[in-house]
Amino acid sequence: MSEINNILITGIGVISPIGEGKDEYWGALRTGRSGFREITLFDTSDFNVKIGGEITDFDPLKYIHKRHLRVLDRSTRLLIAAARLSLEDAGLTITDENTYSIGVSAGATFGSLHSISQFDREGLIEGPKYVNPSFFPNTVINSPASQVSIMFKIKGFNTTISTGFCASLDALIYAADFIRLGRADVVLVGGVEELCEETFMGFYRLGLLSGSKGSPPGCKPYDKNRDGLILSEAASVLVLESEEHARKRDAQPYARILSYSNAFCPQKPGMFTSGDGLKKAIIQAIERASIDYEDIGFISSCANGGIELDKMEAETIAEIFGNKIPASSIKSMIGETYSASGAMALSAATGAIHLGFIPATVNTEEPEYPINIIKEGIENVEIHNVLVVSSDPYGNNSAVIIGNI
């Protein structure tokens, strides 16, 4: 069995509201550019909030041939595009010889809720006999990941993980385990979430969206005046590869997986958890990485401007690290991309290590908690290790540490 630290990140693909491709994405993160705008994907007249992290300039034809495009829903298009970018970035060619040692592991929790609901409503309105069967395959949650395999002929395995906010960190954990167990040399790890009326309505009705109580929307992680998250869409795919395989093909790695942990927090009842599970995940990850707490360059936080989540995360970070380690949430720029958020954070952390910067938590003016929140981006800084965390209100918590080569 190979060690965890023999697993490398050798390719990055991103489709996001702040940029397409790793260079644009990293560039936007460094300049603190936000991706929030008026939503055009669906009619927002029923909602107080009209803003989201919509990807406006996405042209699927750049990534997918026209003849394949018709039945593919937005989630699937976004994930395929991110996968193509990551494969190109890694310089990896999939052949008959290597395909069975390459897998796909993706986080997606709602699948395309829009596809499911549309299919269902067509049956309710038109009658079940008039439902178009060609859209039925889009209703399964594993459709985006499976279409990635179909598009790029990846035959080793294909796994979709649905653990909400933690989904794409969990997808990485799963993928790294598969490489450790010798089941794969390379895994495309990613996550996707599309912005659609159905998920937007869900978050809106639960009062989780910033601006839903009338104030102008703004994502302000940890701020005293935060009032919720901004819902977004994105897809990101990272190429994870065993060191041996990467070396053989002279791949240029960006970063190394040092350790990870995932822990459930059995607090009950209700939607929000105490910090026990997150604390356990972070401490286990640090122990498994065999590093000191001070060795962490910064914490890529999952704070999204939500009242409860930010409080729990900040208190947990304060308890473990005090105010020593810088913490930053890129959600202040890209918003909440749910199942994709872990992959977005991993791609950002990879850039931070590769280029030497810490992204800012933009918009945060008056932090409510005594932790070291990075309000202005930092440049020209050597980052050895980044701790990336995700916490989900249903009780799951995930932590991944990546380090420099």
Binding site: M1, D46, T99, A108, T109, F110, G111, L113, I116, S117, F119, D120, R121, G123, L124, I125, G127, P128, K129, V131, N132, F136, T139, V140, I141, N142, S143, S146, Q147, S149, I150, F152, I154, K155, F157, N158, T159, T160, I161, S162, T163, C166, D177, R180, L181, R183, R205, L206, A263, F264, C265, P266, Q267, K268, G277, K280, D392, Y394, G395, N396
Partner: protein, 402 residues
């Protein structure tokens, strides 16, 4: 590496709740198919399915409010309680050790989405706030985790009709990797109108009965259910004197990478080969194959062709049965329930039959254990599952020998 054994079984299905009733009906060749009552099917082409009719949640969770759970969660919670009771594991044991959960599903709490759609079509301002919280796919393992005080790893697989095997496999990995000592693993899917309508529109649903491997087979039966297994690290199980059903010795995954819904022989072949390789056995060692066996013309044809390719001349000598002929296709729960059937088959040395079999199909000339259960000693069982997206998973179970 650490060894992983199965020490508890919990099943909720159209042919029985709890392993006793389930096994009795399974070996008697009983069908659980009945007219669909979850929704009106008068506008569909077919009207039968494998619903769980008498479902007494209160019996297993007295005093817990049902309306805070989706049906998927109630099915999963019930199967979990049955499995934990069967394994003789209490919540205090689960708190003392590292215990994790890996579940699988096709559509998760899709029934909740269906309810929301219907309510909002009637009145777009209908209050659905309580329902929204039940929509996320991982609310089911979360409910199970919270009620049973789990504190370890947490995973939800949405790999459609192979999800149960994915979940069992990863639970097996987590124990081997020393991250947890006990894993609650399995699959769950409620009876879904989206699935029923979709498969109907695919003309993939049998009008009367599910007849895997029969020349005149007309399709699958949409069903619901939950299957939960307790996986335990061997030393832990031995120390507490647990009843061991079987050992898990490996699994294989593959992806067809060809088509979302048509199975590929090559993908299935690779999946079985990988499973056997990881288990360290040859095709000669396999004594029973629990088939994916949905009863659709395409699935059964591809699966039999793949079995021929993997097992060569021996293919007609291995019993291959599909319990979907009795309980229908429980989607994400199917391979978990089938793993339970394999565990019981190994334990009792009895193979459950493929019922409704009448006319042999030259393209499916395997030994499908037609219509009657058969006494047969099993050292190794192979549990096949295939899914939309070409997500394939095969699990190898072994008779437990210390």
């Amino acid at each position: 590496m650490r060894r992983v054994v199965i020490t508890g079984l919990g099943v909720v299905s159209s042919i029985g709740i709890g392993k006793e009733e389930f096994w009795q009906n399974l070996t008697a060749g009983k069908s659980g198919i009945s007219p669909v009552s979850s929704f009106d099917t008068s506008e569909h082409f077919t009207h039968l399915g494998g619903e769980v009719k008498e479902f007494l949640f209160d019996k297993y969770y007295p005093g817990i409010k049902q309306n805070s759970f989706s049906r998927a969660s109630m099915l999963g919670l019930t199967a979990t309680r049955l499995a934990l009771n069967d394994a003789d594991i209490t919540n205090s044991t689960l708190q003392e050790i590292e215990a994790g959960i890996c579940m699988g599903t096709t559509l998760g709490s899709v029934q909740v989405v269906e309810i929301i759609d219907e309510l909002l079509l009637k009145n777009k301002n209908h209050n659905i706030d309580n329902l929204i919280c039940l929509v996320p796919t991982h609310s089911t393992p979360s409910d199970i985790g919270k009620i049973n005080d789990l504190n370890g790893s947490f995973m939800m697989f949405s790999t459609a009709c192979a999800a149960g095997n994915y979940a069992i496999g990863y639970g097996f990995d987590l124990i081997r990797l020393q991250r947890i000592d006990i894993a609650i693993v399995g699959g769950v899917d409620p009876f879904s109108k989206v699935a029923f309508t979709g498969f109907n529109q695919f003309k993939a649903v049998a009008p009367e009965r599910c007849q895997p491997f029969d020349k005149n087979r007309k399709g699958m039966m949409v069903a619901e259910g939950a299957g939960v297994l307790i996986l335990e690290e061997l030393e832990h199980a031995l120390q507490r004197g647990a009843n061991i059903y079987a050992e898990i010795v490996g699994y294989g995954l593959s992806c067809d990478a060809k088509h979302m819904t048509s199975p590929s022989v090559e993908g299935i072949v690779q999946c079985m080969k990988k499973a056997l390789k990881e288990a360290g056995i040859s095709p000669l060692d396999v004594d029973y194959i629990s088939a994916h066996g949905t009863g659709t013309p395409a699935n059964d044809r591809a699966e039999c062709a793949a079995i021929k390719e993997v097992f060569g001349e021996r293919y007609m000598g291995i019993p291959v049965s599909s319990i979907k002929s009795m309980l229908g296709h429980t989607m994400g729960a199917a391979s978990a329930i089938e793993a339970i059937a394999c565990s019981l088959a190994i334990k009792h040395s009895i193979i459950p039959p493929t019922i409704n079999f009448e006319t042999p199909d030259p393209e499916c000339d395997i030994d499908c254990v037609p219509n009657r259960a058969r006494k047969h000693e099993i050292n190794y069982a192979l549990n096949n599952s295939y899914a939309f997206g070409g997500n394939n998973a095969s699990l190898v179970l072994k008779r437990f020998i210390e």
